[in-house]
């Protein structure tokens, strides 16, 4: 009897993933998003194979050249190949996005779970904390943190990551509040299962769908915010190629060489639109009821 229940639960679980995948692949917008994200990730990883140029090597005899066969997207004010800088820059922009979201998840999800599962005083304290964080507009919060922590890769990731915490904790708290009332949680409590077991085994897996959707959408937002910091000169420092910083440098030359600002911006735009499409598609595939909430 027990084994048949386990089989049932497991098979149900395994059927879940292909089913979601099936719904995702029938969702045209999601496929476009997935294609964009995969293409950008591949381009970043395979950068050395896609361009012979070095992203930081300067060539002052070749500054601000318009796009050509040798330099498909032209060169910047220090004669560096723009395509190479965008490809290598993608590594950093995507890396920042992934780590910042991971940071936000690592803090926001436990906060939300504890808040929603234990309720009462803990919930009140955590939610007031979240309220206070939400009192700062997210870009401003990231900007203020970088201003105080100082520029640099780690600080950008921390600053941008922290600004995603409130949303994650709110969303998780919301799902956990309803999950904790389910019969299976009550059953687990009745047989005396420890809290941690219940949280990891029963509560968290069922609260995952909205978290996955929000994490995907947050990737777009964090890339946008991190590139915004880079644009202001408060992100990753030169000569490291990063999309936002490239755009910030390129804008000084838009009068003669508009492509120096156009292409890095296009890369940011594509990455954000890719994650937004994918996130919307995942929401529809995982749980259409989330429409309008996320």
């Amino acid at each position: 009897m027990v084994s048949s229940i386990r089989e049932f639960v497991t098979s149900e679980h395994i059927r879940g993933v292909p089913e979601v995948w099936g719904r995702l692949t029938r969702h045209r917008a999601a496929l476009v998003g997935l294609a964009i994200v995969v293409a950008l990730a591949l381009a970043a990883v395979l950068a050395p194979l896609l361009t012979p140029h070095d992203p930081v090597q300067q060539d002052l005899n070749q500054v601000l050249l318009p796009p050509s066969l040798e330099h498909p997207l032209g060169t910047d004010h220090l004669g560096r190949d723009l395509l190479a800088r965008i490809l290598y820059g993608g590594r950093l922009s995507l890396f920042i996005g992934v780590l910042a979201v991971a940071f936000g998840l690592a803090i926001g999800v436990p906060l939300g779970v504890v808040s929603g599962y234990y309720r009462g005083g803990v919930d009140l304290v955590i939610q007031r904390l979240v309220d206070i964080m939400l009192a700062f507009p997210s870009f401003l919060l990231a900007l203020a943190l970088v201003a105080l922590l100082g520029v640099g890769l780690t600080n950008v990731i921390v600053a941008v990551g922290i600004s995603t915490v409130p949303r994650f904790s709110r969303i998780v708290r919301g799902s956990v509040l309803s999950i904790r009332e389910q019969v299976y949680v009550e059953a687990a409590q009745a047989i005396g299962a420890p809290d941690l077991w219940i949280l990891f085994r029963h509560v968290l897996p069922n609260a995952l769908a909205p978290v996955i959707v929000q994490a995907t959408l947050s990737m777009g937002i964090t890339i946008l915010v991190a590139a915004g910091l880079g644009f202001l000169g408060l992100g990753v420092q030169p000569p490291t190629p990063e999309w936002g910083a490239m755009l910030g440098e390129g804008r000084l030359y838009i009068f003669h060489s508009p492509y120096t600002a156009t292409f890095p911006g296009l890369a940011i735009f594509l990455a954000v639109i890719g994650f937004n499409l994918l996130g919307d598609g995942l929401r529809d595939a995982l749980d259409p009821r989330l429409r309008g909430i996320l």
């Binding site: 870009f139 777009g220 838009i254």
Partner: protein
């Protein structure tokens, strides 16, 4: 005391509590900086006497709780300290820049409502048509577009090539056009998206069917009967996106050399003028909170069924 008045008082009290903690966090962040704040404020080249003078002046020689009480007391007097860069009161610096930012934010919010609400309404009434699809695509573009990139593109097209509008500054009325369009793009998309889903919900209601059945014109049904009932979530979104707008203003002002608070913030970050940075963050958080309070109060005006109890 009437319900609305009591509600407003309650909300202002809650606001005060939030702002107290906002002030606490900003206070702690600046104090927890690695290094000596007095040294940071005085600058690298200041003499030891100067640093000591600043330490005493800013009460940095006292224990943290005492410092916080002084900090709060001066906040309540509207005193945000002295700028490290210009030696002017921070409040005066911010107030001199605030009108430009408010002008930009107000123009963008107006564009967001004036363009976003009709777009969303059209999308909802023609749901799943090609027109709806095109509007959805436009919304996606608006939400995914980096403001700083959009600003640069608009400069390239409308200032450099077509020469219709100035590329930077705020010297003439037409200077406002490109920055406010840039800043509005995200909000237009956001408002249109919310209007569409809120209108779809309302258009399904019985009283809308009744309104159509009575033979009312489309304009009256959509704008008098439907939109009014769909307004609450739309208004909420307009309030919430105001935060994005303030963040976006920092970037937009940088792109267009717009003489507002956002650019003052960026300049102050670069010159390590922490009193100004701290002051602007506090002021922006206050503005954001006030706008959302205003939105909550407006609910009752738009929907008389809402009782504040």
């Amino acid at each position: 005391m009437s319900g609305l008045l009591r509600y407003i008082v309650q909300r202002i009290l809650a606001l005060a509590v939030t702002l107290f903690f906002v002030a606490l966090i900003v206070f702690l962040l600046v104090r927890l900086l690695p290094g000596d704040p007095a040294r940071v404020i005085a600058g690298v080249f200041a003499s030891e006497e100067d640093v000591q003078r600043i330490r005493v002046q800013l009460n940095l020689d006292k224990p943290l709780p005492t410092q916080f009480v002084y900090f709060l007391a001066s906040l309540l007097r509207g005193d945000l300290g002295i700028s490290a860069r210009t030696s002017e009161p921070v409040m005066r610096e911010i107030l001199s820049r605030l009108p430009a930012t408010v002008k930009l934010a107000a123009a963008s919010t107006f564009i967001a409502a004036a363009v976003g609400i009709p777009l969303g309404t059209i999308a909802a009434t023609k749901a799943h048509s090609s027109l709806d699809f095109s509007i959805s695509a436009l919304v996606l573009f608006g939400i995914s577009m980096p403001v700083y990139w959009l600003g640069i593109i608009l400069i390239i097209i409308f200032a450099i090539h077509l020469r219709w509008f100035p590329a930077a500054g705020a010297d003439q009325p037409s200077s406002l056009v490109l920055p406010s369009l840039t800043l509005a793009a995200f909000s237009v998309a956001f408002v249109a998206r919310m209007t569409r889903s809120s209108m779809l919900e309302v258009l399904r209601q019985d009283y809308i069917r009744t309104a159509w059945a009575k033979g009312l014109s489309a304009l009256v049904v959509l704008y008098r009967h439907a939109l009014r009932n769909a307004m609450i979530p739309i208004l909420t979104v307009i309030g919430l996106q105001f935060g994005e707008l303030l963040g976006g203003a920092v970037l937009t002002e940088s792109v267009f050399s717009w003489p507002g608070v956002g650019r003052l913030l960026v300049d102050s970050i670069f010159s390590r003028d922490y009193p100004v940075v701290q002051g602007i963050v506090l002021i922006f958080a206050c503005l954001f909170a006030l706008v959302n309070l205003l939105v909550d109060v407006l609910y009752g005006l738009i929907d008389p069924r809402i009782r504040y109890e």
